[in-house]
Amino acid sequence: MEHLLNVRDLAVSFHTHAGEVKAVRGINFHLDKNETLAFVGESGCGKTVTAKTILRLLKPPFVEIGAESSIEFQGQDVIKMSKKNLQKYRGKDVSMIFQDPMTSLNPTMTCGKQIMESVLLHVTKNKKEAYDIALDTLKMVQIPDPEKRMKQYPHELSGGMRQRIMIAIALSCKPSILIADEPTTALDVTIQAQVIDLLRELKTATKAAVILVTHDLGVVANFADRIQVMYAGKIVERGTAQDIFYKSRHPYTWALLNSVPKLAKERKQALYSLRGTPPDLILPLEHCPFAARCQYCMPICKEVFPEETVIDGQHSVHCFLTHPNAPAVTPLYQMEVSS
């Protein structure tokens, strides 16, 4: 089957005075129609850089995309796209929701104008039509009093409302891919749940594929079909939500799942915690980047980066523990499959 988006050997690095920071180190993945693909990992693992690169939002000369990298969208390589095509691709084909709705909205423009802006650019030149489309999108994101909101400025709205405006802007041109970068991180708990539910409904309604970038496993568990766990610029494990949450094979995934307190668990017990911090991405890191913090680290882990092992179906992992010669280990902890 033809994939909607096909990313090969994506490598992105930043030039800083201290040296070249290799933020994304050769990752491969694809995205199919109508699915939600989640990138999970801690800050600095390269998940946001990956998302922004898909939209070509990072600009040279400080950013360099690897020579072998390709991002294929509908037969076109996004990396080699002309400026004109890129403009159409951004907003019309792929759009993005950012983490902080306050700084991503223009404070001097009414919300209506901001939604209409991209509609006028991509869909229609007729102002009346654009207004109607904008209004419809606002209704779609379930904002109370959509007519009133059209005339309001971002600072007049609450955080949750602003995030809905952001979502409306992103969906106004009916993109085939929606990239959501930490869409709920800046929001309160009760609003978070509202926004996640909304995104889920919208995904079903618009049939857009979603790339979800987050560090919040709760959000992922509620929204993602497939999950890719990233660490230090590499994808270390990928699979369906079932694979990752209940049958994960990578020690880093175990650690992530374990460091969240379980509501049912005993209080004041020490949480499982990884010691130390992720490696500096200036380092070459030819071996497994997680080796220094991994309690199952083996000598081989410090020599080479393990190749991808397919566990079953979509589930695959980069870890020497899956090697036939490796000792069997009981995973730290797996989510119990609840009845």
């Binding site: 009760t190 709760g218 509620n222 209080r267 499982y272 990884l274």
Partner: protein
């Protein structure tokens, strides 16, 4: 159990613009007992941070009293008493970036409080800083570093060491983990728990992360628009929440368990938290409460004990 901090009718209003008053904390009362962790949860703007800072007298309270170790800190106290209070009650902040002075070395940051409260020579101070660094899982090499050379989790631990340096009894933890990554959050929480056991510390743990609050706290208070709406033993609160807001908060927790999330019924709250400048009359939660009726607009519900140790402020209960 002996009460360490008694907050009675605490009020903190901010003047915002002409004739508008923001009631960040409005008539708040609770007690923190020696050696326990009291969790305080609520959404942004509910006044939990203001509450923590007012208890430490970082903000001058508008009204009410803060009785610390039997002494009312909101009345005029001799200087020695104030300094004792400052030594005994400390705070850890949310943002590990703005909480450390960028122009000071880690040693200067940690030793700042020591020079205020203790007479120590330079080498003694360096020795204490070194011990503290080891305690929080760093090494002595960090002493001469600047904050920007450290990661978020390392900075947060330096913030903890700064508070510990004066040997406090009581620490207000103001969202100490919200700005950190998941695996680092666990490090910090583990550190806080082990320090508590070792030094018999009392914590006021402020957070919006309910699962973390439940994990670390003995008792939990839920705040909404400057008031406590429910206060109970941690287990009880999570097992049998009484107040509709508490129920909604619990139901909004997204757990890392896809199968459970698929089958669970979520009680959705409508709308957002109203502005604390012009809060609703009567019960402040009534505008979002699924059970609200006319009576809720009339009376301000009092915090009542519904079962031993379980308080809630809802007229329906």
């Amino acid at each position: 159990m002996k009460p360490l901090v008694e907050v009675k009718g605490l009020k903190k209003y901010f003047n915002v613009g002409r004739n508008t008053v923001l009631k960040a904390v409005d008539d708040l009362s609770f007690t923190i007992y020696q050696g326990e962790t009291l969790g305080l949860v609520g959404e942004s703007g509910c006044g939990k941070t203001t509450c923590g800072r007012t208890i430490l007298k970082l903000y001058e309270p508008t009204g009410g009293s803060i009785i610390y170790n039997g002494k009312d800190m909101n009345t005029k106290q001799p200087r020695s008493e104030i300094m004792n209070f400052k030594k005994s009650a400390q705070i850890i902040f949310q943002d590990p970036y703005s909480a450390l002075d960028p122009r000071m070395t880690i040693e200067e940051i940690i030793s700042e409080g020591i020079s205020v409260h203790y007479r120590k020579t330079r080498s003694e101070t360096a020795e204490i800083v070194n011990e503290l660094l080891t305690k929080i899982g760093l090494t002595g090499d960090f002493a001469n570093r600047f904050p920007h050379e450290l990661s978020g989790g390392q900075r947060q631990r330096v913030g903890i060491a700064r508070a510990l340096a004066v040997n406090p009894d009581f620490i207000v933890c103001d969202e100490p983990i919200s700005a950190l990554d998941v695996s680092i959050q666990a490090q910090i929480v583990n550190l806080l728990i082990s320090l508590q056991k070792e030094r018999n510390l009392t914590y006021l743990f402020i957070s919006h992360d309910l699962s973390m609050v439940k994990h670390i706290s003995d008792r939990v208070g839920v705040m909404y628009l400057g008031n406590l709406v429910e206060l109970a033993d941690s287990e009880t609160l999570f097992a049998e929440p009484k107040h509709p807001y508490t129920k909604a908060l619990m139901s909004a927790i997204l757990t890392a368990d896809p199968d459970f999330e698929k089958v669970r019924e979520r009680q959705k709250l409508q709308g957002e938290i109203p502005s604390p400048i012009n809060p609703p009359s009567g019960c402040k939660f009534r505008t979002r409460c699924p059970y609200a009726d006319g009576s809720c607009a009339q009376t301000v519900p009092e915090l009542r004990e519904v079962s031993p140790g379980h308080f809630t402020a809802c007229v329906k209960e």
